[in-house]
C-alpha cells in the first residue's frame, strides 16, 4: 500500500487528523494504566491466607454481665460447639484473618536492641493453628502442657517469662533471619524472650494497616483465652456443612448462656469477600471506565471517518474512474486509520509511562510492566480498524460515476 499519498492527504487535514491522534493517545494512556490498576486489584484479592478458608466459620459472641468463671464458660462452650454435627474443630481465639481487628507488638532480635526490627501480629488461642488449618513446614505445634491462661499471664508479670515458645510464619522467619532456618531462634518482645519451635507456610494478619508487604508477619502463642478476654469462636467444618453448622453453633452458644449477644456469624469466605470489597468495587469501576472509553473512542473514529468519506466522495469517484478497485479504496481508509492509530499509540505510550510515574509517586504503585505496551497497541489498532470499517466500506461503495457529476 502506498503511504505517501495518504500522508499528503492528511497534511491537508491537519486538525482533524490531530484530533484522532490525540483521542487515541489519551485513550491508550488511560486504558493502559486502568488495566494495570485492575490487575493490581485482582492480584491483591488473590492474597494467600495460609488457612483452610473454605472450611472456617467465625462466630462472635459476647456475654452480658460479669463472668464469674470465664475459663470454665469458655471450655464448656467449646465442648458444646464440638458436639454440633459437622464441626471438626473449634477454638476460642483473640483474632481472625480478614476481620480488620488485630493485636500487634514490636519484635526485637536481641535483649539490648533499642529499636524494634518490625511489628508483627499475635495470635492467641488453644488449638488455634490446628483449627485454622495452617500448614506446618518445620518443627512442631504446641503441646497441651505448654498452654498458659492468658488472663493469668496478664495479671502476673512473672508468668510472662514462662511463655517460652512460639510458632511463626515462614515469611516472618525469612524476614528476621534471611537464608537461615528460624527453628530454635529467639526473639525478644518487650521484657520477655521466646523461642521459635514451629514454622507454618502462612498465616495472614487480620488487618493490613502496615501495608501488604507485611501481610504474613504473624506469630502464634501458646495462650488459652476465656470469654472475658476473647469472643471469637472459630469452627471448622466441611464446606457443604457450614450453613447447618452456623445455625447449630449459635443455638448451642445461646443454650449455654441465654444472655449472649451474637455480634457476627459468618464463614471465612464471606469475611474475606468483605475484606476485599473495596478492591472489587474499584476493579469493577475501572472495567466500566475502560469499556466506556474504548466505546467513545471507537464512536469518535466512526463519526470522523464518516465525515471524511462524505467530504471525499468526489475524490473517491475520480480514483475509481481512473481504475482503482473497491479493495484499493477500502485499503486506503484502513491504512489511513492504521497510520493515525500508530502515531496515537506511540504518543499514548509516552503519556501512559508519564501517568504511571505520577501514580508511582503518589499512590505507591509499581512500575507499569512492559507487556502492557504491545498489548495496548494491538487493542487500539484493532478498535481503530473495526471502527473505520463501516465508513471505509461506504467509501468503497462510491460508484465511479460520481466523478462525472457536476463540479
Amino acid at each position: 500500500m502506498d503511504i505517501l499519498p495518504i500522508l499528503s492527504t492528511l497534511r491537508r487535514h491537519k486538525v482533524t487528523a490531530f484530533l484522532v491522534i490525540l483521542e487515541i493517545a489519551l485513550t491508550c494512556a488511560i486504558v493502559c494504566n486502568a488495566v494495570f490498576l485492575i490487575s493490581q486489584r485482582l492480584e491483591r484479592m488473590q492474597m494467600f491466607s495460609g488457612v483452610a478458608e473454605h472450611e472456617l466459620i467465625q462466630i462472635q459472641a459476647v456475654s452480658i454481665g460479669k463472668q464469674n468463671d470465664a475459663a470454665a464458660r469458655a471450655q464448656e462452650d467449646l465442648i458444646r460447639l464440638r458436639q454440633v454435627p459437622g464441626v471438626t474443630g473449634a477454638a476460642l481465639v483473640n483474632q481472625v484473618p480478614f476481620t480488620n481487628s488485630s493485636w500487634n507488638t514490636s519484635v526485637k532480635l536481641g535483649p539490648n536492641q533499642k529499636q524494634a526490627t518490625l511489628n508483627a501480629t499475635q495470635y492467641f488461642g488453644e488449638n488455634l493453628l490446628q483449627t485454622f488449618g495452617t500448614r506446618l513446614v518445620a518443627g512442631r505445634y504446641f503441646n497441651a502442657d505448654e498452654y498458659l491462661d492468658f488472663e493469668a499471664v496478664q495479671r502476673d508479670q512473672k508468668l510472662q517469662a514462662k511463655v517460652g515458645v512460639i510458632v511463626i510464619t515462614q515469611a516472618l522467619g525469612e524476614r528476621l533471619w534471611p537464608g537461615q532456618s528460624a527453628l530454635g531462634k529467639t526473639i525478644y518482645l518487650g521484657e520477655t524472650s521466646v523461642r521459635v519451635i514451629g514454622v507454618v507456610a502462612g498465616l495472614i494478619r487480620p488487618s493490613l494497616f502496615n501495608g501488604d508487604a507485611s501481610a504474613q508477619w504473624s506469630m502464634a502463642f501458646p495462650l488459652r483465652m476465656n470469654v472475658s478476654n476473647a469472643n471469637r469462636y472459630v469452627l471448622r467444618a466441611a464446606p457443604n456443612d457450614r450453613d447447618r453448622v452456623i445455625a447449630g453453633a449459635v443455638a448451642a452458644l445461646r443454650k449455654a448462656d441465654p444472655h449472649r449477644v451474637i455480634i457476627e456469624k459468618k464463614t471465612l469466605d464471606e469475611i474475606r469477600s468483605g475484606f476485599f470489597q473495596n478492591d472489587r468495587a474499584m476493579a469493577g469501576l475501572l472495567v466500566g471506565v475502560c469499556i466506556a472509553l474504548l466505546v467513545v473512542t471507537a464512536l469518535g473514529i466512526v463519526g470522523l471517518g464518516s465525515f471524511w468519506v462524505a467530504q471525499r466522495r468526489r475524490q473517491i469517484g475520480v480514483r475509481r474512474a481512473l481504475g482503482a478497485t473497491r479493495r484499493n479504496i477500502l485499503n486506503y481508509f484502513q491504512t489511513e486509520n492504521f497510520l493515525l492509530a500508530t502515531i496515537g499509540i506511540a504518543l499514548g505510550m509516552v503519556l501512559a509511562y508519564g501517568i504511571n510515574l505520577f501514580l508511582m509517586l503518589h499512590y505507591e504503585l509499581p512500575r507499569l510492566p512492559a507487556i502492557y505496551f504491545p498489548i495496548g497497541a494491538i487493542v487500539l489498532w484493532l478498535i481503530g480498524q473495526v471502527a473505520v470499517l463501516g465508513p471505509a466500506m461506504r467509501a468503497a461503495a462510491v460508484p465511479p460515476v460520481v466523478a462525472t457529476r457536476s463540479v
Binding site: 488511560i30 454481665g65 469518535g300 463519526g303 465525515f307
Partner: protein
C-alpha cells in the same frame, strides 16, 4: 439575534441526528463520571464543622524513646497517654478542651425480651459538647465536676433515644449500659460531622453514622470500658491499668479563639514537653498543634481510591471533549457552503462564530442534563457500594449547578476550534463549489 442562532443550531443538530446523539451521549458520559466522583471527593474532603473548624486544634506530643528520633523530622504521635492528656486538660489554656476515646457500649433495653445490643460510644470530658457545637434536643452535657466525681450519667444520640424511648424526652431516665445504671442528662439532635474528625485515629471509622452514647471518661473507665485503639511505646507491665501504662489511647482537642491564643498554646505545649524531658519522662521535644482541617490533611482522611477515581473521571471527560471537538468540526466543515451563503449575504465573522458557539452550547446543555442523570445513577451505584461513606453520596444544589457549569465550559471549549474554523472560511470558493 440569539433566538435566530438558537433556531439555526437546533435545525442543524436535527439534520444530523446520529452525530448529535453521539456528541451529547459522549459528553454526558464524561460529565456524569466527573460529577459523580467530584461529589464524593467534595463530600469526603469537606469541613466537618465549618463554623468552628478554624478554632479547633489538635495538640500532639511524643513520649517515645530517643532511638530513631531525628529532630525536626520525626512527627509526634497521633494519640496521647492518659497523664499527658489530663495535664493538658487541667492547665485550662484553651477556651474549651476535651480528651476522648472511642469504645463500645453494651446497651440493655428495658423492654421485656428485647436483646441487648452494642452501640458506638465516646468516653470524653465535659467540654466535648460545647467545644464541638453538638446540638441538644433535650437537656445538656455534664459539668467538669461530674468528670472528677465519676458521676453515673450519660448523653445519648437522638437515634438511640428514638429506639429506646420512642423519641420522648428521656432526660432524668435511666439507661443500662455495661451492667451499670446511668442517668440520662442530655439527648443530642442528629449530629454526625463528616469526616468524623474526632474519631480519627481512635480506632473508629472516618465517615458514617454518629456515635450513640457519650459518657464521662472516668465513669466509663471505672466500668472497665476500654478504648478501641491503644498504642504502647514501652514494655507494658499491666495493660488493664491504662491510666498508668506507657500507652497512648486518647485524642485531645483544644479550642483557641485567636492567633495569639494559638501561639500561646504552642509555647505552653513546647514548655510542657521540655518540663517532661527535664523530669526524665520524655526524650523527644517535637510537638505539633494542627488546626482541624490541617489535621485531616495530615491524616490523609480521604481514601486514595477516591482521588484516583476523580483523576480518572477527568481523563475521561478530557477524551469526551476531544471527541466532541472532532465531531463538531466535522459537522461544521460539512456546512462550508451554508456558511459561504450566510457570509455572502452579510453575516460577519463574529456572527458566524456566535452561531456555532450557540450550537456547541446547546450540545453542552443537553449533555449536562443527560450527564446529571448519569451522575444520579453513578451516585446510586456508590450508595450501594460497601464504603463507609456510601450512604452520604447525594447530589447537593451546589453540585447540581456545577454540573451545568462543567457541561457548558466543556462544550464551549470544544466549540471554539470548530467555530473559529467556520468563521475564517473564505466565502467565495465555497459558493463556487456549491
Amino acid at each position: 439575534m440569539f433566538a435566530y442562532y438558537l433556531e439555526l443550531a437546533l435545525r442543524s443538530l436535527k439534520r444530523n441526528r446520529v452525530l448529535t446523539a453521539l456528541m451529547v451521549m459522549a459528553l454526558a458520559l464524561g460529565i456524569g463520571a466527573t460529577i459523580t466522583t467530584l461529589t464524593v471527593l467534595r463530600l469526603l474532603s469537606g469541613d466537618p464543622l465549618p463554623q468552628k473548624s478554624a478554632q479547633l486544634f489538635y495538640p500532639q506530643i511524643d513520649p517515645n524513646a530517643k532511638e530513631g528520633y531525628i529532630e525536626g523530622q520525626t512527627k509526634p504521635d497521633q494519640l496521647m497517654a492518659y497523664p499527658d492528656a489530663m495535664n493538658l486538660l487541667q492547665a485550662h489554656r484553651g477556651t474549651h478542651q476535651a480528651a476522648m476515646a472511642l469504645t463500645q457500649a453494651k446497651v440493655m433495653p428495658k423492654q421485656a425480651n428485647a436483646r441487648p445490643f452494642f452501640s458506638d460510644a465516646v468516653m470524653t470530658t465535659a467540654d466535648f459538647f460545647a467545644m464541638f457545637d453538638a446540638p441538644f434536643q433535650y437537656g445538656g452535657g455534664w459539668a467538669a465536676a461530674d468528670d472528677d466525681g465519676r458521676a453515673q450519667l450519660v448523653v445519648i444520640a437522638g437515634f438511640l433515644n428514638d429506639k429506646l424511648f420512642a423519641g420522648a424526652n428521656s432526660v432524668g431516665r435511666v439507661i443500662r449500659i455495661n451492667d451499670h445504671d446511668l442517668r440520662i442528662v442530655g439527648v443530642l439532635k442528629p449530629w454526625a460531622p463528616q469526616p468524623r474528625f474526632y474519631a480519627q485515629d481512635l480506632g473508629g471509622r472516618s465517615y458514617g453514622d454518629g456515635d450513640a452514647v457519650f459518657l464521662p471518661l472516668q465513669t466509663a473507665r471505672a466500668m472497665e470500658m476500654g478504648p478501641q485503639d491503644t498504642e504502647c511505646y514501652a514494655a507494658v507491665p499491666d495493660i488493664r491499668h491504662l491510666e498508668t501504662a506507657p500507652c497512648e489511647w486518647l485524642g485531645v482537642w483544644v479550642e483557641l479563639d485567636s492567633g495569639a491564643a494559638v501561639a500561646d498554646y504552642k509555647t505552653f505545649l513546647d514548655g510542657y514537653v521540655k518540663q517532661q524531658v527535664a523530669l526524665g519522662r520524655f526524650q523527644r521535644t517535637e510537638t505539633s498543634l494542627l488546626d482541624l482541617m490541617g489535621w485531616l490533611r495530615q491524616e490523609q482522611v480521604v481514601p486514595d481510591d477516591v482521588r484516583l477515581q476523580a483523576g480518572l473521571a477527568f481523563g475521561f471527560l478530557l477524551i469526551c471533549v476531544v471527541n466532541t471537538v472532532g465531531l463538531l468540526l466535522a459537522k461544521c466543515l460539512r456546512r462550508s457552503a451554508e456558511i459561504g451563503v450566510r457570509r455572502a449575504l452579510g453575516a460577519t465573522r463574529r456572527e458566524i462564530f456566535t452561531q456555532f458557539m450557540v450550537e456547541a452550547g446547546i450540545v453542552g446543555l443537553a449533555g449536562g442534563v443527560l450527564g446529571l442523570l448519569f451522575a444520579e445513577l453513578g451516585l446510586l451505584g456508590i450508595r450501594h457500594q460497601p464504603a463507609e461513606y456510601a450512604s452520604l453520596a447525594h447530589l447537593d444544589t451546589w453540585m447540581f449547578m456545577f454540573t451545568f457549569v462543567v457541561a457548558l465550559v466543556a462544550s464551549l471549549v470544544a466549540g471554539i476550534l470548530p467555530a473559529w474554523r467556520a468563521c475564517v472560511l473564505a466565502p467565495a470558493p465555497q459558493l463556487k463549489a456549491a
